[in-house]
Amino acid sequence: MKPDRALLLHLAVIAALFAMQYVLPAYHQGNLARILVLATFATGYNILFGYTGLLSLGHALFFAAGMYGAGMTMRFLDWPALAAFPAGIVAATLLAGMIGALALRTTGVAFMIVTLMFAQAGYLTILYFNEFTRGDEGFVIVQATRNILGFDLSNDDVRFVAAWLIFSVGLLVALAVVRSRMGRVLVAIRENEERTRMLGFDPFPYKLSAVALSGAYAGAAGAAYALLFGSVGASFASIQYSIEPLLFVLLGGTGVVLGPLVGAIVIFYLIEYAREVTTAYLIVVGVALVLLILFARKGVLGSLRRRTDGWLP
C-alpha cells in the first residue's frame, strides 16, 4: 500500500510546530500561539472560500460570537473554561447556520454584501449593549478562571500547547473534510454549481454546512482567543477581522489546507515589522491584497501545488 503522502506531510507540519516551542525564544513563541489561533480561524474560512468558492465578508461576527459566547458565560454565569469554550463554538455555529440560511438565498456580489451587512449589524449590536459587552473597550477574563483541568491557560507554555492543539485538530479535520465525499461536492460547487445540481446534488445543504463549519472554526478560534489571551472586545467583530482570514487564505493559497497557516505567519510578521516602522502599518494589508489579486491569485502554496502533480490537498 502506498503511504498517504498528504497525511504524513500534515502530521509532519504539526510535529514541527510542536517542536517550535523548544526552539523559539519566548517572544516568538507567544507570537506563534497567536498565529496558530488566527490560522485556525482562517483554516475554517478556507473551507468556505477556498473549497466552496463562497466569499464571505462577515466572518468576524462568528469569531466574535465564539469570543463572547465563551467570555459572557464565564463573566455572567460563572461557567468554567471547560464549558465556556464549547459554548463559544456552539454560539458561533448556530449564528453561522442562521445567517448562512438567509445569506445563501443570494449569490455572488450580493452574498458578500449580505454577510458584510450582517456582520456590521452584529458589531453595532455589541456596541449598543455596551453595558454587558463593554463595547470597543472590551473586558478582561479574570486570570484565575482561565484554567482547564488544572492547566493555567495564561501560562506561556500551556498557552502555546493549547493553541497548537486547537490548530492541529482543526487542520486534521479540515484535511479529512476536503478529502471526503463532501469535500469533493464542495469543490464541484465552486467549479460549477449548475453542473453539480445536474449531477443530482442539491448544493444548498452543502453550502450551508460549509458556512456552519467555517463558523464553528471561527467560533473555536474566537473562544480560544478569549481564554488564552484573556481579552474580549467589540473590535474583534469589526470588518478588519473579516478581512484577515481572507488575506491569510489568499496569500497562503486558496483551496490548500496548509495555505492559511503560511498566510497567517507571513502576514502576522509583515504587520509586526510594519508596526515598528510606521503607525500606518495596516497599509501592508492593502498593498498585499492588491498585489495578490493582481499577480498571485493562487497564493504561495497554490503555485507550489501546480508543480507537485496536485497531490497537495
Binding site: 466569499l55 465578508l57 438567509l102 445569506a103 438565498r105 443570494t106 455572488g108 456580489v109 450580493a110 458578500m112 454584501i113 449580505v114 458584510l116 451587512m117 450582517f118 456590521q120 449589524a121 453595532l124 449590536t125 456596541l127 449598543y128 478581512i243 481572507l246 489568499l250 510606521t278 503607525t279 500606518a280 502599518y281 495596516l282 497599509i283 494589508v285 492593502g286 498593498v287 498585499a288 491584497l289 492588491v290 495578490l292 489579486i293 493582481l294 491569485r297
Partner: protein
C-alpha cells in the same frame, strides 16, 4: 423642547444627511450600474475629498469662502483622477471580475486610509464654513420660541447645492454625449464596444466620476463634520444601504432611498441613538437583499 419642534429640527438635520448621502450613494450606484463593480473603497474617496478640502482651505488665505470654492473644484478633480488611475492600473487588469474587484477595492480602502494617516495625521481637523449665519425658526405653537430652535444658513446651502448638483448630474446623464455613452455601456458592454465606444475609457471615467461625487459630498459636509482619516466608514455603510434599498444600479431608487435613509437616520439618531439607527438600517438591507434582491424601488432584473 416639545416633540413638534424637535421633530422639525431632526428632520432638517436629516435633510442635510440625506443630501450628502444622496450624492455619495449616487456615485456608488453609478459605478455599480455602469461597471457592475462594487466599490468598497468608495467611503475612502469621500474621506479623501474632506481631507483635500482641509488642505486646500488651510493653504489658501483670505476669506473662508475662497478656500471653500477652491476646494469645491480641486477636491473632486484630484479624487476623480486618483480613482480613474486606480481603475486603469488595478481594476482593468482584473477584467472587472466581481470577486477580484471587491478584494482589490478592499485593498484600495486600506491603502487610501493609511495613506491619509501618514500625510494628514490622526487628528480630526475642522474646516471653516464660508458663511454660517444663525437662522431663527419661528415656531407657531408658541411656547419655546427663541431658544434653541434655529438652523444655519450653511445647512440650508448644503441642501440647495445638492439639489443643484443632482439636477446637473441628471442633465449630464440624459442630455449629453458622455451620458449617452455611459448609458449605452451600462445597457450592453459588447454592443457598445462594437459600435466603437472606448469602453475601457468610459469605465475609467465612470469610476473617477463616481469617486468625484463622493468627494464633492465630503467637501459640502466637512465644515459641519470635520475631516478625519477614519471618516470613510459611515458614508460607505450608508451608501451601501441606500444603493441596495433603492435597487442596485437604479439612480432614481438611489435618490428616494437616500432621502428615506438620511431622514430616518437623522430622526432616529435624535430620538434614540445613532447606533440603533444603523443597526436597523443594516439589518433592513440584509433582509432586502435576501428577500427582494432588486431593491424596494428597483425594477425586476433585466
Amino acid at each position: 423642547m416639545d416633540f413638534g419642534p424637535q421633530l422639525f429640527l431632526a428632520s432638517l438635520d436629516g435633510m442635510v444627511t440625506a443630501a450628502v448621502l444622496a450624492l455619495t450613494a449616487l456615485g456608488l450606484s453609478l459605478v455599480f450600474g455602469v461597471m457592475r463593480v462594487v466599490n468598497v473603497a468608495h467611503g475612502e474617496f469621500f474621506m479623501l475629498g474632506a481631507v483635500i478640502a482641509w488642505f486646500v482651505a488651510s493653504n489658501i488665505g483670505g476669506h473662508a469662502a475662497i478656500g471653500f470654492i477652491a476646494a469645491l473644484i480641486i477636491a473632486p478633480l484630484v479624487v476623480g483622477a486618483i480613482a480613474a488611475a486606480a481603475d486603469w492600473i488595478v481594476l482593468k487588469r482584473l477584467d472587472y471580475e466581481p470577486e477580484a474587484t471587491i478584494v482589490a477595492t478592499i485593498g484600495l480602502l486600506y491603502i487610501l486610509q493609511q495613506g491619509a494617516l501618514v500625510t494628514f495625521g490622526p487628528v480630526a481637523q475642522a474646516v471653516e464654513p464660508p458663511f454660517n449665519k444663525r437662522i431663527e425658526i419661528p415656531w407657531f405653537e408658541g411656547a419655546n420660541v427663541g431658544w434653541g430652535l434655529f438652523t444655519t444658513s450653511y445647512k440650508l446651502f448644503v441642501i440647495g447645492a445638492t439639489i443643484a448638483i443632482l439636477i446637473g448630474v441628471w442633465l449630464l446623464l440624459s442630455r449629453t454625449k458622455i451620458g449617452l455613452v455611459m448609458r449605452a455601456t451600462q445597457l450592453d458592454r459588447e454592443t457598445a464596444q462594437a459600435f466603437g465606444i472606448p469602453v475601457e475609457k468610459v469605465y475609467a471615467l465612470t469610476f473617477g466620476f463616481g469617486a468625484a461625487l463622493a468627494a464633492l459630498a465630503a467637501v459640502l459636509i466637512v465644515p459641519i463634520q470635520q475631516a478625519d482619516y477614519l471618516m470613510g466608514g459611515d458614508p460607505l455603510l450608508l451608501s451601501f444601504i441606500v444603493v441596495i434599498i433603492g435597487g442596485l444600479g437604479s439612480l432614481r431608487g438611489t435618490l428616494v432611498a437616500a432621502l428615506i435613509i438620511g431622514m430616518s437616520d437623522g430622526i432616529i439618531s435624535v430620538f434614540f441613538t445613532p447606533t440603533l439607527a444603523k443597526i436597523i438600517a443594516t439589518l433592513a438591507v440584509a433582509m432586502v437583499l435576501v428577500f427582494r434582491p432588486q431593491g424596494l424601488f428597483g425594477a425586476k432584473a433585466q
